[in-house]
């Protein structure tokens, strides 16, 4: 079980959290102008790196806030968490 440090509540068990996929996927500025392929790319295409990945988590059994985490997908080590609206920190 991962121990995830919620930026509000502190370290809690993974079972208290809900996963939200890749972070920093911006909504298109003018969705109506996109081609079907571009729209599908926005909806369904996500990075799948081996290494540090910025992803969204929600502390659903705690403060119910969304936040971002930098997790290494190979080792599951969490390099940092940051609140919504804060810039992505540099992974250590």
């Amino acid at each position: 079980m991962l121990l995830i440090p919620c930026p509000w509540c502190g370290p809690r068990e993974e079972a208290e959290f809900h996963y939200g996929g890749q972070a920093h996927v911006a909504y298109p500025e003018d969705p109506a102008a996109l081609s079907d392929e571009e729209w599908a790319r926005y909806l369904f295409f996500r990075d799948n790196p081996k290494g540090v990945f910025a992803e969204r988590w929600s502390h659903s059994a705690g403060c119910r806030r969304w936040f971002n985490a930098l997790r290494d997908t190979a080792t599951n080590r969490i390099h940092g968490v940051y609140r919504v609206g804060e810039p992505r920190p540099v992974a250590s």
């Binding site: 809690r12 068990e13 208290e16 059994a61 705690g62 119910r64």
Partner: protein, 191 residues
Amino acid sequence: MAERRSPAAAYAGRFEAASRGEALRLAELPFLTQINVRVDPSSPAAGDLGDALGVPLPVEPNTAVRAGSGADEVTVAWLGPDEWLVVAPEGYRLELLRKARGDRHGSIVDVSAQRTTLLVTGPRARDLLAHGCALDLHPGVFGPGACAQTTLARAQVVLIPREDGFLVLVRSSFAAYLAEWLLDAAAEYVA
């Protein structure tokens, strides 16, 4: 008026039986008033709400404050950066909070029926909860003045430590499950 039954009323007898020893006391505190408060903590409305409650809204995560006494005794628990839970005796007048907010941005909602309150006290209260809760419940870390939303035996709860034990606020629909679980986990501490 229709008869009112609290969510864990059926367990009163078994709670009492489990409380006969010295180690543990289990009880339900039914029908407490619970108010969900959402407001920007830096706004003037938050200050006025604090004045109405008799204590400022705690802004530090995982903390709770107590104020007042008797019918005005309130516990204000931090639920989120702009969200608090006020626990007060039955009959607490939430109109006072609505009046303090006025027509400014924020929400005051009566959620008394959402959760019931179980009281777990006694020297073994911490050991009992530790069977189903991953948090460090030692009073040095999680004593009076703290609070936490977490899972207890997989049920979502709000834990509020008191001098002699814990308040466990659990959803009404989970109250029977959690009561069964507490009684089962308490078997080894009951004389």
